[in-house]
Amino acid sequence: MGTAYNSITFNQAKCDGCGDCMRACAQAKAGSEDLIHARIQILAREDAPVELAMCRQCGDPKCVSNCPAGALNKNPESGVIDWDANKCVNCLLCTVGCAYGGITFDAAVGHVSKCDGCDGDPACVKVCPTGALEYSTAGSLYRRISEREDLFVPGLSACQGCNSELLIRHTLRNVGSNVVVATPPGCIPGMGTVGYNGRTGTKVPVFHPLLTNTASMLAGLKKQYNRLGRDVTMLALAGDGGVGDVGFQSLSGAAERNEQQLFLCVDNEGYMNTGMQSSGSTPAGSWTSTTPVGEAMQGKRTDAKNMAKIMMMHNCEYVATASLAFMDDYYEKLDKALEASRRGFAYLHVYAPCPTGWRFPASDTIEVCRKQVETNFVTLWDFTPEQGLRFTRSVERPAPISVYLKQIGKYKHLDQAQVDHLQRRVEDQVRSLQAFTHMSAAG
């Protein structure tokens, strides 16, 4: 089992490039005001986000592999890559291994230097005035969320290993109680969020619109609250059918009118709670109960549509994709989406692999999520009209799609031509999205 280590995290959006971190580091590590000694280097430039060069304390550190003297080691206790001055021979081969500028030759002291985490109390984090630098573990992120109230009742009846339950509980914890939730027909009301026996499954107002009118109902509610002078968040938790198929016209209309709401699509690639029928989000080749595998047919014949991209073309205030294997990324986007929904329409598309409908073990849900992203089957990005599209995780060097497909029962029958087709489709999607990274103002 791996261990989670504390590490210094950098939130680019919060950094204003003040440089206090560098000054604190140079002071702590060299007793100097010369920033050349800082082991954290921020790269600020006008009109561009601040970038960062520092040791990432990699889990699979190439500086260590490249060291001929055994002078670098990943400390199993602290997770820090320790540098041993007594063994270092100054050959600089470690610097060849690092793609982050995290270990560099410091000419003033005559040897390489790198971040050592200040023994668990990093000087840079303490002085960061904007909170862009934090010292945390992936686990502490969850702890922070779990301190907030769970606004769903215990005992929702989702299937074992359900991604959507995890997602909606985390989401509402973050959104808070000043909200009206709409859950159109699908797994989310199906698992009991709209309630049993006259009681709701949430601790906040929730209602069950039709598949067709979710966005318009939320729009009407929001207008009424606005009229009353109350600032209440409108949140839709909808499945991919309620978003991209029958729900689409009201969704598109609300986006076009820039209604103030946050529309969250939980995409499990089909109508899973009514018996696993195919939807517009079902990828080609998938087995579903309406796209069977037999003599005449080998799963779905047409490709899925890319709803997030379609919503981006509405030029919404905010559009993003997310995966539960990358929670920190999701939380960041959720915050941005909430903020944007005060101004207008925000859309989040979260991919939600379904153990029951897709046929994989319930314990593998997060791993399936991760492989979706690592193969570029799912890409993580966000969009605002000012910023254009920005990948929040690199799409370079993806794993082959077969790595993802082979985990999942609904793809078990695929022949090589179908796998090749999906691989091509993935590559086309990435290329198409990459084109949007170059345009800053869409629409």
Binding site: Q41, A53, P68, C98
Partner: protein
């Protein structure tokens, strides 16, 4: 017969990295490392520092004994591989013992090339590739007064500096007109050579040793211009060649080294090769090359290990790029990619200041970085290597990159990695 699921021959960078990659995916399959060396694993790169005394033989091991225990990796030491028996999926060692494998990695590295200089075979010369070589050289240096070093490559240059620092009068004889060819152009090489000159090392550039003559207390080296150098210590550093003697009759495709594909697989089933012994795709051409550098041995070792264990995250090898970081007399020389070009379509920017001993040369083509070499300039070689491998388009930031390669490189990398 002994058997190991993964059999790895060699126990240096390529071998150790492969073992690590295998254990990431397969925590149970048996792994055995075979090495002809008896010491704990070490790197040839550290040896000049053992000679100089900056490091020592007991401090250079790359893994602790605990590591092999914890990772359940077997070791067989002091046994050279002598024969491959691919039909039986087995190998034979020096003492006749045989090992059966499911997957075999050949990571036997390289060994010094001894030039055909008449008389050399009758001299007790030194080389520098193994820890025993380093200890012998260090001991010899303790007794010597005059040394001749053949070759101004990395081994020769490191050796010459070590010997000169030990108070010995040193001459370096190099056939080519410059030091460290392949990593630095003539102008940069001249800066390095001049530093050696200043330290009193005699640099005989463009000279060939024609014959060597034994003497009671050492030897005499006759150069092609008639000059004669007396030496009580002769260090031969004229290059290396892959260790492939055991491949005889096995059917393995060889050229200079063992030919491999982009997964480090050889032409024979279940046999891979990586590191200094392997000849793999060049980054710049269609040729296959032996790169002979440590970072590549690591890279290739990891790819081979991942291929052997069928790690789905395996990415094919992107091609060999010459890289070196070279410290001499407290100065830093760095070279990533090509250092010279005859290509007229390439853009070459040189920044040179002999006074400060500063040099920086950037070669771009079609907006992409081809190579950068520098002396006493602050750069991140790892970032530059990635910019080359990824063929990152620098057209939009070209002026900035040429003016500030360190900051621009960091910014680009941070942006792609975030």
């Amino acid at each position: 017969m002994n058997a190991s699921k993964y059999l790895i021959v060699g126990s240096s960078h390529a071998a150790l990295e492969a073992a690590r990659a295998i254990r990431m995916q397969d925590d149970a399959g048996s792994i055995t490392l075979i090495s002809r060396d008896t010491h704990a694993p070490y790197s040839p790169t550290v040896l000049p520092y053992v000679v100089s005394g900056r490091s020592s033989a007991d401090r250079v091991s790359l893994r602790t004994p605990d590591y092999f225990q914890a990772e359940a990796i077997n070791r067989v030491t002091g046994q050279a591989l002598t024969r491959l028996l691919p039909a039986e999926q087995a190998v034979e060692l020096e003492d006749g013992q045989r090992w059966h494998y499911e997957k075999l990695l050949l990571a036997t590295g390289a060994t010094p090339v001894i030039p055909p200089v008449p008389g050399l075979d009758r001299i007790d010369y030194r080389v520098l590739r193994t820890l025993d070589d380093a200890i012998a050289l260090r001991d010899a240096a303790g007794k010597a007064a005059n040394a001749v070093v053949l070759g101004a490559g990395l081994v020769g240059m490191h050796g010459a500096e070590n010997l000169a620092e030990a108070g010995i009068a040193v001459s370096v004889v190099e056939m080519q007109s410059q030091v460290l060819p392949g990593y630095f152009d003539a102008q940069a090489a001249e800066l390095i050579r001049a530093a050696f000159d200043r330290q009193g090392v005699t640099m005989k550039m463009g000279r060939r040793a024609q014959r060597v003559e034994p003497q009671a207390d050492g030897c005499r080296v006759h150069l092609d211009n008639g000059e004669v150098l007396n030496a009580d210590l002769l260090l031969v550093g004229t290059g290396v060649r892959p260790v492939t003697d055991y491949c005889q009759g096995s059917g393995l495709d060889l050229d200079q080294g063992i030919l491999v594909d982009d997964h480090m697989a050889t032409n024979l089933p279940n046999i891979w090769a990586a590191g200094d012994v392997a000849q793999a795709r060049d980054f710049y051409s269609d040729a296959k090359v032996v790169t002979g550098i440590l970072p590549d041995a690591v890279e290739q070792g990891r790819i081979a290990g991942m291929a052997m264990v069928e790690d789905p995250a395996l990415q094919p090898y992107r091609g060999g790029v010459p890289i070196n970081t070279y410290t001499f007399y407290g100065q830093q020389a760095i070279s990533v990619g090509i250092s010279d070009t005859a290509d007229t379509a390439a853009q070459v920017a040189v920044d040179f200041d002999a006074e400060r001993g500063y040099f920086q040369k950037i070669i771009l083509k079609d907006g992409r970085l081809q190579g950068i070499s520098a002396i006493n300039a602050a750069l991140d070689p790892g970032i530059l290597w990635q910019l080359i491998l990824r063929r990152t388009d620098l057209s939009e930031v070209k002026a900035e990159f040429l003016a500030q390669p360190l900051e621009t490189g960091r910014r680009l990398m941070s942006d792609t990695w975030r």
